[in-house]
């Protein structure tokens, strides 16, 4: 029986706590008597018969006819799936998307459907490599569809293959992939890693264009999403749902398949990363010591390769299919069942260790802008109710924050760092002054469409993601970060945790209360 999440009140006997630092970790002693550590729930049990569960979901969907009843010869069927940004880390083969897509294709074949397209719903993310596509959909599907051009990636800059469907009552333009829009049935295969994934966000975001995305990927929407993980208080969620209505009204028929995974994040050699420190065995301590010592001597590039080669043992805990909103309600319950931790009240300081990975740097570098989005966009927003840190409080994160970028994946990030952040760190100012130039840059478009580059506007979205967090907190401190880079982000560098607490004392006094979120694995704090 997995144990639920846990809030540890730090006392004198509490051992030092594990903090991620990119491709390494450290143990930090938090002040006793006024610190607490939030541990995520242990991984819940996976479904024993995954293929059986998938087939059952397709045959017994929620608020929709069974999938076979929706399939007929001569129809246009499009299967869209979540891209390389999910799950994190990538899961051990077979990927759940492969299992679901194979099951859908079996039913399609039985129904005599032969016009099938499979599309990676990557929105403005980078295109997936062949290896990544094979990992996600499996060799059988890839070999059957890709060579014939029937398995491909959404291109948000291809005007000939986008369909404008209308506007929401709020004036939000809805434009999505034309093939998906004009199909008799759009089957969406999702992996719901966090509560903001899935639902109408799958199609209204994943298959859309800049013309649509700019209506909710902007500082105003992000400021009014409190948090992203709380659908009822997320403007981002509401905007996607309004766009979903436009999809429905324009006749797009969606069969949504959503899956959830448990938080079994790291395979055995790295198992200690998911454990509570006082439960570390001598072997765990030895592994920690050996790992950190070795990583200290390992070139960053090699360390990155080691970590990105990790395939997580996480497995499917639920699958539901059918009508988008009904499906997503149940999916969200499953996500919360795995991730929710009850927490009482806020503290002056929120601490976090930023790991090597985010949704936007799979097989790549967590560059400084992505460090920002992990801290201020994701970890800060891992709450329901109210933020873990009080308004005007301080965030302290640990990460080396080197000025390193992957020029293939993140070309516009380099310019964003050099040009935009040198000018302003204010999301509203940069959205007005710089966003359009980056969004419409032909070179970035070219790299997005033909290479493996994130869209030119993507670093802006990453910055906007942290809008609420940056506004909420009065200071953000990075322990162990490259000072010049940290300052460029508008944050404050500190050499040690003690140093950071000293710096924070200007704002929160000498005896602040502290919360540390012990993640990954993922969690959502239910703060009351």
């Amino acid at each position: 029986m997995p144990r639920p999440g846990f809030v540890l009140e730090v006392d004198r006997s509490t051992p030092p706590i594990l903090f991620w630092r990119g491709e390494n970790f450290s143990l930090e002693k938090l002040p006793a008597g006024r610190s607490r550590v939030i541990y995520p729930p242990e991984p819940i049990a996976a479904i024993a018969d995954i293929d059986g569960a998938i087939r059952n979901a397709l045959l017994n969907p929620i608020d929709q006819d069974p999938l076979p009843a929706l399939l007929f010869p001569g129809m246009k069927l499009t299967i869209a799936f979540d891209d390389v940004s999910l799950p994190l880390p990538k899961m051990q083969r077979p990927d759940v998307r492969q299992r679901v897509i194979e099951a859908v294709l079996d039913l399609a074949a039985e129904a005599g459907v032969d016009d099938v397209h499979i599309i990676s719903a990557l929105a403005l993310h980078r295109r997936m490599t062949e290896a990544e596509l094979r990992h996600a959909v499996g060799d059988r599907v890839y070999d059957a569809f890709a060579p014939r051009g029937l398995l491909y990636q959404h291109d948000a800059e291809d005007p000939d293959n986008l369909a404008f469907l209308g506007t929401t009552p709020h004036g939000e333009e809805v434009e999505i992939n034309k093939r998906a829009a004009e199909s008799d049935l759009l089957v969406y295969v999702n992996i719901n890693l966090v509560a903001m994934d899935g639902g109408w966000k799958s199609t209204a975001t994943g298959l859309s264009s800049y013309r649509s995305l700019r209506h909710h990927h902007n500082p105003d929407t992000m400021t009014h999403s409190r948090s992203f993980m709380d659908q009822h208080r997320s403007e981002l969620h509401k905007s996607n749902w309004r766009m979903g209505k436009v999809l429905l009204d324009s006749g797009v028929k969606v069969f949504q398949i959503e899956t959830t995974l448990n938080t079994d994040t790291f395979p055995p050699p790295f198992g200690f990363l998911s454990k509570r420190e006082w439960e570390w065995s001598p072997r765990d301590r030895m592994t920690y010591l050996a790992t950190t010592k070795a990583l200290n001597r390992t070139p960053a590039r090699m360390a990155r390769n080691i970590f990105h080669s990790i395939e997580a043992p996480h497995q499917m805990t639920s699958i539901q299919a059918g009508e988008v909103e009904a499906v997503h309600r149940i999916t969200t319950e499953h996500v919360y069942r795995q991730q929710l931790v009850e927490v009482k009240g806020q503290t002056d300081i929120l601490t976090m260790g930023i790991p090597y990975i985010s949704p936007y740097n799979v097989h790549s570098i967590l560059n400084p802008i992505l460090v920002q989005v992990m801290a201020m966009g994701y970890y800060f927003n891992m709450y329901r109710g109210m933020p873990l840190v009080r308004e005007g409080g301080v965030i302290i994160m640990t990460h080396p924050c080197r000025p390193e970028f992957n020029p293939v994946h993140h070309p516009s990030y380099i310019d964003f760092f050099e040009q935009v952040l040198a000018d302003t760190t204010d999301p509203h100012v940069m959205s007005q002054k710089w966003e359009r130039q980056y969004a419409e840059d032909e070179w970035y478009k070219h790299l997005y469409r033909t290479g493996y580059a994130y869209h030119g506007v993507h670093p802006f979205y990453m910055w906007y993601w942290g809008t609420h967090g940056m506004k909420h907190c009065s200071r953000v401190i990075v322990v162990g970060g490259d000072p010049k880079t940290v300052r460029r982000l508008g944050f404050v560098p500190a050499s040690t945790m003690d140093d950071a607490l000293e710096i924070a004392s200007d704002v929160v006094g000498r005896t602040p209360t502290i919360t540390h979120i012990h993640t990954p694995p993922l969690m959502v704090a239910d703060v009351s």
Binding site: I414, D415, E418, Q419, Q437, D441, E442, W443, H446
Partner: protein, 405 residues
Amino acid sequence: MRALRISRRPAKFAVARLISPISAVGAARLGPLDLVNDDAPALPRHEGWHRLQPRLTGICGSDLSLVEGHASTYFEDWVSFPFVPGHEIVADTDDGRRVVVEPVLGHAARGLPLPFPDAAPGDGDDYAHLVGGHLKPGIQIGFCKSTGGGWSTELVAHESQLHVVPDHVSDEQAVMVEPAAGGIHAALATWPAVDRALRAGEIPVVAVLGAGTMGLCAVAGLRRYVPGVRIVVGARYPHQQALARALGADVAVPADELSRAVRREVGCHVVGDHLTGGSHATIDAVGNSASIADCLRFTRPRGRVVLLGMPAEVTVDLTGLWHRETELVGSYTYGTETMPDGTRTRTFDLAIETVAAARLERLLSATYALEDFEDAIAHASAAGRRGAVKIAFDLRRSRKKVESN
């Protein structure tokens, strides 16, 4: 007089060339430069010559390359040894005027007919006069045995070379007039490419690679005299970037980021190492193989690269220049300029305006007595690294010493 003198001693040049990468002080001490007490140069018996007593004289990159033994052998036939370096001069004349010296030894100074009426010393399309007339060979004061140079307490100069310094211009501003004139000349050399862009309805982008004294003066010149340009500067050191911005650059980035910054301005693509488009014109204020190659990479096809930094022997793949039909033009000095509005004026007149208006005295980082020349050379040689821009000799102190002796 007290002077620093360079003699033709190949072994000394070789020693300086060997030592300079390790120690600029060593190169100054063991190289071809000597501090001497010598007779002042004889006043030529032709009309218009004056004795000058320098107040401040700058140390230029071309001076350093001589002292450090890196100068091109090209100049061997255009100079006369021994000579006293120093051509960025503010001085007092024997008739009581405070002047800056336009150092080129032109037709008038050599007693030869002018190439056209009112020609400046640097004008003319035939350089025969530089080795002719009644003076020894020498492209300018500071490279000619007959005249002496600014790194001394006394030299001679012709009336055609003298520009009276207005009262509101300080000595520290005045010593920047000569480099400012060089920068302005380079800035105006971008005009044909800028003009083409303006006529096409585009916003002309001019890139400047290098922000030492010459690069910064070029930025000041672009901002004041070339209308409508976006100036993008690549500078190695943060203080150079800050000065570039202060002098009118729209964007100043680290030098290795310049290509990216130019691309951001013009929104073109990148193929291999080359931008598909690029700046309309580029001023290379560095002048070595790498900088020329870089400039050719980010200047647009049929754009213009103005070579302001003095190169010596370089190795550059010119395939890109051929393919892109890039104009590569040199920018040595000053003379009579044709302005964007078609009027003609002297570069030195523009430079005198500019040093005051742009407060170029802020580029003068330190002055040294002539006797401290080893430290001065070392400082100038490492100016960027040491947060400096222009180093100069303060001859006012040396002059007093000579007078008291």
